[in-house]
């Protein structure tokens, strides 16, 4: 039951290839233009991804003949992307939700890597719950109020 019957050779007109190529170039121009000039914040990422996805589907359907071949190849391609999506989403389930119950669980002890400890230029150390390794200062009031206050209003979802 091998599905090789509908594999008559599909020769696409030259014009189709060139037009798809030009659309891709135009889309590239658009995505660069949007990326550089506008600043919508997070929406910008979604816009960029949408444009990249349309370019990808164009390449896949026409250049890789997914449109004309049997559906097995299309389902394989979609399956691959689906499993990648599962990998990303489920890992983000963990990394993004660590501070659900305790704020302190989500933030690293000292999130500046060792190689930057000495550099004074970087001032972003103060905002994190930085705890120097000296144990005696471990119970600065920031920690104490943070966790006790935290544990009183527990958000059980």
């Amino acid at each position: 039951m091998s599905d090789s019957k509908n594999n008559t050779i599909h020769i696409l007109p030259l014009s189709l290839y060139l037009s798809i190529g030009s659309i891709l170039l135009v889309l590239t121009a658009i995505t660069v233009w949007v990326g550089v000039s506008f600043d919508f914040g997070p929406i910008n990422l979604i816009v960029a991804m949408l444009i990249a996805a349309t370019k990808a589907t164009l390449v896949a359907l026409y250049f890789m003949h997914l449109k004309y071949d049997s559906k097995v190849y299309l389902s394989l391609f979609i399956g691959g992307i689906l499993f990648l999506a599962i990998f990303i989403v489920f890992t983000m389930l963990d990394t993004m939700r660590r501070q659900d119950i305790y704020e302190i669980k989500g933030t690293p002890l000292n999130n500046m890597a060792e190689m930057y400890q000495g550099l004074s230029t970087v001032d972003s150390i103060s905002d994190s719950t930085d705890v120097s390794t000296d144990v005696s200062t471990i119970f600065t009031d920031t920690i104490q109020t943070d966790t006790t206050q935290q544990s009183s209003d527990i958000k059980i979802d």
Binding site: S2, D3, S4, K5, N7, I9, I11, L14, Y17, L18, I20, G21, L24, L25, T28, T31, V32, G35, V36, F38, D39, F40, G41, L45, A48, M49, I51, A52, K55, A56, V59, A60, Y62, F63, M64, D69, V72, Y73, L76, F77, G79, G80, I81, F83, L84, F87, I88, T91, M92, T95, M96, N111, M112, A113, M115, Y116, L119, T121, V122, S124
Partner: protein
């Protein structure tokens, strides 16, 4: 390392040429799925670290040259078009035309690598290297070396696949010169086309993720 059948068109254990071509295509698509998941690992690392250090990613990405990135995208898309045209011409049995398109594709791929070399050389000079070799101080935000580690991992792996593609297509050019292919049998060219389009597809996603962060 894609698979290509020997010069004698039909291998003993296939019923007919169509079945063999179909089998080769299915095998190639499965290989492309493994490539998607191979790069997928890096996309996961990118997504997680961008979610953790968003402002550092923004500050660090400004040191990437968007014009070079955009030209690279244009170069790869045109090489994808010429690759598709090469397949079209072999389907029409125009061996000479197919050879020319393949050569253009290889040339464009080399241009891509050269541009990539300039970008890397600029970063080596500045000290924006992955991991512990990172000595650049200009970037605000936590752990900027992570951005460049992921940048070099993604573009390095992609560059490695471009080099693999160049090798594969040059091998094809030598075979087309010995007119091993005709409109009746052109499976290796088609496989190279699928592989090259995937390499282009991955760059289509890499470019906005690395160069256009806001």
């Amino acid at each position: 390392m894609s698979n290509h059948s020997p010069s004698t068109n039909l291998q003993s254990h296939f019923a007919d040429a169509a079945q063999q071509a179909d089998a080769a295509k299915l095998g190639m698509w499965l290989f492309l799925v493994t490539e998607i998941l191979l790069f997928g690992g890096l996309f996961v690392a990118y997504a997680i670290y961008r979610a953790w250090y968003p402002e550092m990613f923004f500050n660090a990405h400004e040191y990437l040259d968007i014009t070079l990135g955009a030209t690279n995208t244009v170069v790869l898309i045109t090489s994808s078009v010429t690759m598709a045209l090469a397949i079209r011409s072999i389907q029409l049995d125009k061996k000479k035309q197919c050879m020319n398109y393949l050569i253009i594709t290889v040339v464009l791929a080399c241009v891509f690598l050269v541009i990539k070399y300039f970008e890397y050389e600029h970063k080596f000079h500045l000290g924006q290297l992955p991991g512990k070799f990172y000595t650049f101080e200009g970037i605000e935000g936590t752990n900027p070396h992570i951005f460049f580690s992921i940048y070099f991992a993604m573009t390095g792996l992609h560059g490695f696949h471009v080099i693999g593609g160049i090798g594969f297509i040059t091998w094809l050019i030598t075979r087309v010169k010995r007119n091993a292919f005709s409109s009746a049998y052109y499976t290796p060219v088609e496989m190279a086309g699928l592989y090259w389009h995937l390499v282009d597809l991955i760059w289509i996603f890499l470019f906005p993720l690395l160069y256009l962060i806001s």
